[in-house]
Amino acid sequence: MSLVETKKLTYTYPSRTEPSIEDVSIEIEKGEFVLITGPSGCGKTTLCRCFNGLIPHFYQGEQKGEVTVAGLKVAEQPIYEMAKHVGLVFQNPENQLFALSIEKDVAFGLENLGVSRKEMKKRVNWALKLTGIYDLRERAPYELSGGQQQRAAIASVLAMQPEVIVLDEPTSFLDPLGAKTIFEVIHDLNKNLGITVILVEHRLDLTSRYIDHIVIMDKGKVVLDGEPRKILSSEGARLIGVGIPKPIRLYQILQKDKVNLGNNIPLSSDEMAAMLREALKE
């Protein structure tokens, strides 16, 4: 069984008549770094809320089909139980931070789980250092910049050490170097600790190099699902308009000009530069 699985999942918010996601069936394996993308309003955020039980427990509405995480049926588990398995980082960090200090915010989830004081201190410091905000630990969330708040939101989820972290545009307020640092932190957690990562992002240029599975949604449905190099170079992805990363587009343009760069689709500028280097040497 896959770590995260949805079967024919359809969900309609209480005040809506149309479902926000429809007939979504995906399987995510343990240790994968998955990117969920698609046009604005396609249902990405709604799908994320289904992974930790915010849907249907908090948002109510009508859910059909099934979501399982780590063998647990999400609809039958209380949210606090799911929180041990799935950490969710929201788009807007202001919705997530509320304590008097960043340190307390990061410790909050652990306090609720009844973790010992010593263990708590250890995990909080670990998460604060990983996200580069250890020096800010005594500051109040509202004293922090948008980018620092985003780091704090990520730290508070990391401290829980969940099997799956779901991040909904976690770096949208960060400067490019800050965003890159966060993606690298997430990538390291994925590679070194085997944490499964589900990332929602529009900016494929910043993220495609890290991923090994991509799900593209449109109008509430999954339209493409599979291996990134294959999906991102497909006609389907171009037509939906997800903003194909520039190295892939340059590769495709040069291919039309009969420049032979080999058959490997480049997911990053590094890969593209290496391929061009070979072609230029000849």
């Binding site: 948008g146 400067d175 800050g178 997800v242 343009i253 040069l254």
Partner: protein, 274 residues
């Protein structure tokens, strides 16, 4: 025209956010202000509509000093779209949100209606006319905030992080819209971290660091200078990154556009473009 003369600004908590900024923005300029978090970008643009007044130095909009007029008066001329739409939205429906300022400015009902429809269609929001802004997704709320400002067609438009949460197609539309505004001699100032978007628009780029402007020039020059970019925590555009890694092959390094990249590469690879 916006004239900024040696502006310093210190917040009440003692943080010195601007440390001697001088610049001139002419009518019809299209400017992207970039730089690391906390560099002073938002603080600077908040001076352009009078939300903040300089601690030292002066700011004038069309020769009028911002300390001598109210924010409400300046707002007619300078539209400001915030980074976080939730700081701006308050109405019960999208339509009400967009008509609010128009009514306040005393536009006739007929004109208000027309402008609202225009803005709704422009930003692909017509289907949400009767919906509460708070029921919409983050990207959609952002567009409502933008529509509510565009509706009164300010001469100077300031967009703080307009591409956050926007998908590729929305960004393309935003780009088209900006170019259209520019063609009509409006001034557009965007504050952004989105290097790829800036590379596509090719505006004048102001790079800020620790309350100062560290570079001011064409996007093609500024975004291809890795040393100056590193100072401002900016990563070069992907196309530029490719060219920076191929610098030993007699390729130019000032490349930000994909079609320009194609041409330069084909020349070195000795292939004739079709």
């Amino acid at each position: 025209m916006i004239e900024v003369k040696d502006v310093y600004f210190t917040y009440s908590n003692g943080v010195e956010a601007l440390k001697g900024v001088s610049l001139t923005i002419k009518n019809g300029d299209f400017i992207a202000i970039m730089g690391e978090n906390g560099a002073g970008k938002t603080t600077l643009v908040k001076h352009f509509n009078g939300l903040l007044k300089p601690t030292r130095g002066s700011i004038s909009i069309d020769k009028v000093d911002t300390t001598t007029v109210s924010v409400a008066t300046l707002a007619r001329k300078v539209g400001f779209v915030f980074q976080n739409p939730d700081h701006q939205l308050f109405s019960e429906t999208v339509q009400e949100e967009i008509s609010f300022a128009l009514k306040n400015f005393g536009f006739k009902e007929e004109t208000t209606k027309k402008r609202v429809m225009w803005a709704l269609n422009l930003l692909d929001l017509a289907k949400y006319r009767e919906t509460s802004p708070f029921m919409l997704s983050g990207g959609e709320r952002k567009r409502v905030a933008l529509a509510s400002i565009l509706a009164w067609k300010p001469k100077i438009l300031i967009l703080d992080e307009p591409t956050i949460g926007q998908d590729y197609q929305q960004k393309e539309k935003l780009l088209q819209f900006i170019l259209q505004m520019k063609a009509q001699r409006n001034t557009i100032i965007i504050v952004t971290h989105d290097v790829e978007f800036v590379a596509e628009c090719n505006p004048r780029v102001l790079l800020m660091r620790q309350g100062k402007i560290v570079a001011d020039g064409e996007a093609q020059k500024v975004l291809t200078d890795p040393e100056i970019l590193a100072q401002a925590s900016i990563v070069p555009p992907q196309i530029t990154q490719i060219f920076l890694k191929l610098s030993d092959f007699k390729l130019p390094k000032e490349v930000i556009d994909i079609y320009d990249a194609r041409e330069k590469l084909l020349r070195v690879l000795e292939k004739q473009p079709d």
